[in-house]
């Protein structure tokens, strides 16, 4: 018995991605691409930028893996006190806006570090720990302990078990997370702008500079295509490797019960996780510190300033940006969950074309935000699709970023559904769609809950892609924080810090709420 045909699920995602991603992208590239644009490819500085983009992305990916894998192990295989809180803590940086963390990070780093490759890599590691911990941890918590136990019984040392048994089983998940981290850092914008220096430029920053500062659309379009080709290559190679390395194994149905740390390696992993939690909390504590520091003393002045509603359009009390951000988050979440959920179903059930749709749904993550933003602007500028100034264009832009994450969350769960359950249902007389509704839908529901939390958090923190889409309502939280930071004096910095703490708390609450929805035994991110 089959679930409903895959194409049935693919219609909505295909239309959405085609309409809001492929069409605007092709329009803006079509407008920009011209022989004149090819000049940028013969410039030495372009290739310096390409080299630096690659270098920092590779270093950031390797660094994130090294730092996060022990934590993934400790938090998913060992009994660690406060596990849920630690997991949420390590997740929050991923969804914080770069403008918030960048400033806090700057204050913590020694001055000689600002503007260096080291600062960028460090910040990228900070932001992406969650990706590795969740993607790898999701699989790790399901690895059947008996494989490792058998090896240990046969006399293998813990290190040898890790190397010859656990690692091969885990490789596909490590690769998947590495590909995600690489994509995020390869196309990084905010971190590079705030923490990098003028000489540490990525392709994404260069595309922005050519589009906005120089109005060199041909050059920008050429670079956007170059970046897209790079991203496609990574997706294709990672996809192939993942399929080649995939090991058929029986996954435990539910989370494997965590064990008490025994070996030296176990203990080291727990200690490392604790250290990591402290390091990750530091920038956030720095924000809290800045929000309470008034002159040479302490006070609630900046928190009070959040509530003030002055006579100027500039002074917006905290609930206005909060309301704007939350409304966008709700709309973006609904769109991302519907589109991403259906896409995940289509990919899971497709007999062929699944990997293609899989890669296609990841592409928005690798596309230059400024290119896409201008694409949306000139594509939806004429009737019957004149969406300019319509509020819906902002959550649509945010949803494009969140859809790949929803797919990544839902897909492993769907793949884990035992087809025999559907067969049983059919034997008992259910129609295919009824069988799907009773077997797949309940599991799907919970996975969608988790991905909704993630999508909402991404929308709350989003600054780059939609900040220049025109809108006439109150600013979002990240935009208001950026405005406050552009005021001279400690009040601007202090009030921005207080508003950042609000954003951190709201985001953490959303992530924790999603955590509660997660049934034990379900894959993560």
């Amino acid at each position: 018995m089959q679930p409903p045909p895959a194409w049935w699920f693919a219609v909505v995602p295909a239309v959405f991605l085609g309409f809001f991603f492929a069409w605007p992208l092709l329009t803006v590239l079509g407008r920009g691409l011209s022989p004149a644009g090819l000049d940028v490819l013969s410039s030495a500085s372009t290739w310096r930028v390409v080299w630096f983009t690659l270098l920092q992305a590779v270093l950031s990916t390797v660094g994130t893996l090294v730092v996060a894998l022990p934590a993934a192990y400790a938090l998913h295989r060992l009994t660690v006190p406060g596990r849920r809180v630690l997991l949420a803590l390590l997740t929050v940086p991923f969804v914080l806006p770069t403008v918030v963390v960048g400033t806090a990070f700057r204050a913590l780093l020694p001055e000689s570090w600002t503007g260096t490759l080291g600062a960028i890599v460090l910040a990228h590691v900070f932001f992406n720990i969650a990706v590795v911990v969740r993607v790898v941890g999701g699989l790790w918590s399901h690895l059947d302990r008996r494989y490792e136990a058998a090896a240990a019984t046969l006399g293998a040392s813990p290190w040898r078990v890790l190397r010859t048994v656990t690692w091969p089983l885990l490789r596909p998940a490590v690769l998947a997370s590495a590909a995600l981290v690489f994509l995020f850092t390869f196309t990084s914008f905010g971190v590079v702008l705030v923490l990098g220096g003028p000489t540490t430029t990525t392709l994404e920053v260069e595309i922005y500079r050519r589009t906005v500062q120089l109005f060199d659309l041909p050059g920008a379009a050429t670079l956007a295509v170059l970046q897209l080709v790079g991203v496609l290559l990574v997706l294709v190679v990672a996809g192939r490797l993942q399929r080649r390395l995939a090991v058929r194994q029986r996954l435990a149905r539910a989370d494997v019960a965590p064990a008490a740390p025994r070996s030296l390696l176990d203990r080291a992993a727990v200690v490392w996780t604790a250290v990591l939690a402290v390091l990750v909390a530091l920038p956030m504590l720095a924000l809290l510190h800045d929000s309470l520091r008034v002159g040479d003393g302490w006070g609630l002045d900046w928190w009070g300033a959040l509530l003030q509603d002055g006579p100027s359009t500039r002074d917006v009390p905290v609930w206005e940006p909060l309301r704007t951000s939350l409304s966008y988050a709700v709309a973006a979440t609904v769109i991302a969950v519907v589109v991403g959920g259906l896409a995940a179903c289509a990919i899971a059930y497709a007999r062929r074309g699944g990997p293609l749709l899989d890669s296609a749904s990841m592409l928005p993550l690798g596309t230059s935000a400024v290119t896409l933003g201008f694409g949306l602007l000139i594509t939806f500028a004429a009737r019957p699709f004149d969406l300019r100034g319509s509020w819906i264009i902002v959550p649509v832009g945010q949803a494009l970023v969140a859809v790949p994450l929803v797919v990544r969350t839902v897909l492993p769960v769907l793949r884990a559904v035992d087809p025999r359950l559907r067969e049983v249902a059919a034997t008992l007389g259910s129609s295919p769609s009824r069988a799907w509704r009773t077997v797949d839908l309940p599991v799907l529901g919970r996975a969608l809950g988790v991905s909704a939390g993630l999508a909402a958090a991404v929308s709350l923190g989003e600054f780059g892609a939609t900040s220049f889409l025109a809108r006439s309502d109150a600013p979002t939280l990240p935009i208001q924080i950026g405005r406050l930071l552009s005021r001279p004096g400690e009040a601007g910095v202090g009030t921005a810090a207080a508003l950042s703490v609000v954003l951190v708390v709201v985001t953490a609450a959303v992530v924790l709420l999603a955590e509660r929805l997660r049934r034990p035994g379900q894959a993560e991110l």
């Binding site: 109005f215 002045d301 006579p311 889409l469 001279p488």
Partner: protein, 361 residues
Amino acid sequence: MAAAAAASALVLAACGSGASTSSSSTSAPTTPSPVPSTFAPTTVRLLTHDSFALTESLLADFEARTGITVEVVTGGDAGELVNKAALTAGNPEGDVLFGVDSTLLSRALAAGVFDPYVSPAAADVPAALKAATQDAVTPVDYGDVCINVDDAWFAKKGIAIPTTLDDLTKPEYKDLLVVQNAATSSPGLAFLLATIATYGEDGYQDYWSKLRANGVKVVNGWTEAYEGEYTAGGKGSRPLVVSYASSPPAEIVYASDPKPTKPASSVMESSCYRQVEYAGVLAGTEQPEAARAVVDWLLSPEVQADVPLSMFVFPAVPGTPLPEVFTTWAATPSEPLVIDPAEIDAKRAQWVDAWDQVTLR
């Protein structure tokens, strides 16, 4: 002392919380604006940058008087604003555009963004502000990008305050200046233009290589420079920063109570580069009459009087009363540096690339 107290009082009136709903009346004269008759109720979309701000009651007053609701549409900085307008020239996102500045004006004019209109209210605006507008847009305000100096730092160290761009290349000012990346920041570009205006196209690269040898630090944006590196702005270690002529009054306005009696920074007037902001009617608008009325309103006495404390710029119409915090603390260079917008547009990429090679590589 009395001046400072008056300044504080005014600031409190303008920026204090809650009660004072008509606080702008302290500075806004009551002369009726030159905006023409009333309109059938309509909405004009005013496209502008993220830094736009006005006293809210002004918008309501205008609506009550003319029937025109001004819907303020923001999204991005001035560069993004102008490029979006250039990409949609003839089929605009709104009816009026405010915030195109003199470094971006030529790009907008060349793209045919505007339906030419100069407000009659701009008759008295000095010719210098109207230069290069090709009678297509109306100057609304101006401001200067200047080096800000942390006076207390220099006093403590017993070093004389630098007064010219040349001074900055001297050994006693080594490692003291932080500037913004001319490729990614608007004040950064303005300061590069200031050096080109001073030393000419043949001399500015030489000047920058001297600045580099003298330890100038380049960061990507205003916030990173002012809040991150400047001694008087936060946790930084450099007492000289590229900022605005209005940063000292802004320090006072944004300070928490009790307000400081004087700002921590002063302005190096010989380094000031002038930026003018213009408003224009967008070509393709369906309601040109109402759009023109909105441009006129931006030049009206009440809006002109409001722009200093709302956006920290100077009103374009001469004779507009300035708030005391401005007359006391803002720098008003008599001969600010300028470069013709058309020349900027033609050579910007070339200048910035050369600057990048000399300063950063």
